[in-house]
């Protein structure tokens, strides 16, 4: 048993954190999320080409650094600390994870493109009626001579306005909620028949509603077996779930640090409010949630390679704990800041917004504790 990071992992964290300290202060971030494009594309290029960050979790055969889920967690935590909106999660963790899992020619073709920063992938999996159920799909992919014809509506697809490619879940068979008949496709984002409605999200990112209207996609867009894609989709969503737990850990740490700093400066009744025991105990409780979020992220990350049921139980335990912790830390950070905490002016409120969105991302605390119970508490 060993819970220390390797030298390479420490190097990844240090390199990224130095880069973000130079390029990603809060004011700069606010400027580019307010721009038309909603991001600064130079940062993505720098992450890929100057820092080699996008290759951290890929094998050396594909031109990466040979890491995996732990490297993803390190990078996501650092992005969390600066409220990074870069599409690392959908591109590297999710699409990259799917490509690593299927391997072969598709992996050889796309992974080097991801590492080079040439590709941004958005993950189009949720549908308006589906909530967190990955199999509840109305989007269909009907086979024809050339490949498939895609029809349907995907909701709240983060990073879609920036994406060169879409990773799409669709039914190639079965009924709306069947586990069988689900397939995964990696397609060009600009194919004819794809209609997007773009919008900003409350946590500073960009997303789209995507409508597929008789979109012709080639047969080789299929990742994994036709109709048997759900286990793969569940696996990559679990990987994504612990990755957002890692991001949440970074976000929660900043919420906590910001609160400590503020209470030491802000005076009431003639003394810094940090001297009040009731606030000290609240900040200790926040500290304990941050530490436990970190513990659960590590636990979930290390269990990604186990059997599907063990992996799901571990990931759900992690997400449930992190979601509860994120709510607690976020709400108490705002409360402790008082009125200034609910303004757009201070960073703290923006961290709270991201923490709140993470609570529900890939399943709420209730969704995950349900899944945990089904797997571990059979009567």
């Amino acid at each position: 048993m060993d819970f220390t990071y390797t030298d390479t992992q420490d190097m990844i964290r240090d390199t990224l954190s130095r880069f973000l300290a130079d390029t990603y202060d809060f004011e700069t971030r606010q400027k580019f999320i307010a721009s038309d494009d909603g991001r600064d594309p130079a940062i993505w290029t720098a992450l890929a080409q100057e820092l080699g960050m996008l290759g951290a979790s890929f094998s050396e055969d594909h031109g990466g650094l040979g890491g995996g889920a732990l490297e993803n967690a390190i990078i996501m935590e650092e992005l969390g600390k600066v409220l990074g909106i870069e599409p690392y999660l959908p591109t590297v963790v999710i699409a990259g994870g799917a490509l690593k899992a299927v391997g072969g020619a598709q992996a050889d073709k796309y992974i080097p493109e991801i590492i080079a920063g040439n590709m941004i992938v958005a993950f189009a999996y949720a549908e308006p009626q589906g909530r967190y159920d990955l199999a509840n799909l109305k989007t269909s992919a009907k086979k024809d001579a050339a490949g498939y014809v895609l029809n349907g509506h995907k909701s709240v697809v983060y990073a879609a306005p920036w994406a060169s490619h879409l990773l799409v879940t669709a039914r190639t068979g079965g009924g709306q909620r069947d586990r069988e008949g689900v397939s995964l496709f990696l397609i060009d984002a600009n194919l004819p028949g794809i209609v997007r409605r773009d919008y900003p999200t409350v946590d500073g990112s960009r997303a789209s509603e995507i409508y597929f209207e008789n979109v012709a996609i080639p047969a080789e867009a299929l990742l994994g077996g036709e109709g048997a894609g759900l286990p793969l989709i569940e696996q990559i969503v679990d990987e994504a779930t612990v990755a957002v737990c890692a991001e949440a850990t970074g976000v929660m740490q900043k919420l906590h640090e910001g609160t400590l700093e503020y209470t030491q400066q802000r005076k009431q009744f003639g003394i810094p409010i940090a001297k009040f025991q009731v606030l000290q105990h609240r900040m200790v409780d926040m500290f304990m949630e941050v530490e436990q979020a970190r513990s659960m992220t590590i636990m979930g990350t290390l269990k990604l390679g186990l059997s599907a049921d063990e992996r799901k139980a571990a990931v759900s335990a992690a997400k449930n704990k992190v979601a509860r912790g994120a709510k607690f830390v976020g709400q108490n950070a705002i409360q402790t800041h008082g009125g200034i905490g609910i303004t757009q002016e201070l960073a703290i409120g923006h961290y709270f917004k991201r923490a709140t969105m993470i609570e529900g991302q890939f399943g709420s605390a209730d969704y995950h504790i349900d899944r945990f119970e089904q797997l571990t508490l059979a009567a």
């Binding site: 220390t4 659960m296 449930n320 704990k321």
Partner: protein, 397 residues
Amino acid sequence: MDMEFSPEDLAFQQEVRTFIAENYPADLRGKQDEGDELSKEDFLSWHRILYKKGWVAPAWPVEYGGTGWTPTQRFIFSEETARADCIRLMPFGLAMVGPVIYTFGTPEQKARFLPRILSGEDWWCQGYSEPGAGSDLASLRTVAVPDGSDYIVNGQKTWTTMAQHADWGFFLVRTDKDAKQQEGISFLLIDMKSPGITVRPIITLGGEHEVNEVFLEDVRVPQAQRVYEENKGWTCAKFLLAHERTGIAGVAASKRGVEKVKEIARTEVDGDKPLLQNAFFKRKIAELEIDLTALEFTELRSLAGPNAGKGPGPESSLLKIKGSEIQQRLTELTLEAVGHYGAPYFRGFGDGDNEHPIGPDYAHRAAPTYFNVRKTTIYGGSNEIQRNIIAKMVLGL
């Protein structure tokens, strides 16, 4: 970073399992399953078995009789003993005063006391708390006045666990009334058979005699039994409390406790289904289990992370707070699970009592244990004090 046990660790795990299966006393297993009160002899029988094997003090340095195990092996050992429902050894000698003596004691003190702690010949108790002081430990008023080569000690201690059995006690006493609160305290080892010591039982809510009041009237204690410098006892006290806190996270025991609650909830019927299918009850168990996992991995990070081997720091307060809260939630769920049969009250159905308790075997200790375990957020420095420690030492407030 990995959670894997090495082949050596797996072999060690098997060795521990086999040892417990072959050596843990059968009558003790029975008592433990019934949740009966354990006698001094019960504790000592398991203590002596582990001593004979050389496993009684895994955390001690090898030169003083420790095992030389890695943190992982120690983790495995505590997991396995909890899994097998082995009783937990009394911490006062092994986990508390022992480390103080080998860290701060004189060569004579080490030679005299450590072997007898290991063998179980001496049963120790802790003289820290005082009436009116509680978690404000430094406000203690028991005084030790030099008299030749001795001290004359006067005062009163309270909440002294298992003092009724103790051969020796380690006491915090005031040796300088004029110094600042924490600077005039000394750490004394006192023979509990010394003239002038009276031990009076305190019966707690569950009906148990676990804690006592200890009165000291003109008790003569050789100065050679003072550990570390005069007036520097606070250093020993802080060291000891940090050690105590790590122990009382109790992760392995709570993991076993969760399994037991689940077993009860599978047996108990709610409507026409097992209680474990009641959505609300199930949710409470699941949340507890997840919180316990978070505590476990936080403890593992401190055992096998970058700060491993540096000894327990103020972060150990986190383990104490969360560990004690989880222990309480466990007993709460158990009491809730047994329903009506939480109510019947029993006294003294230990040795020699043949009457079978009312209700299922797992029910009759549910309420007393629930009452008893309210102590965990109070002892060892209340959880409020632990929060003060984190606020000051970790957060710098």
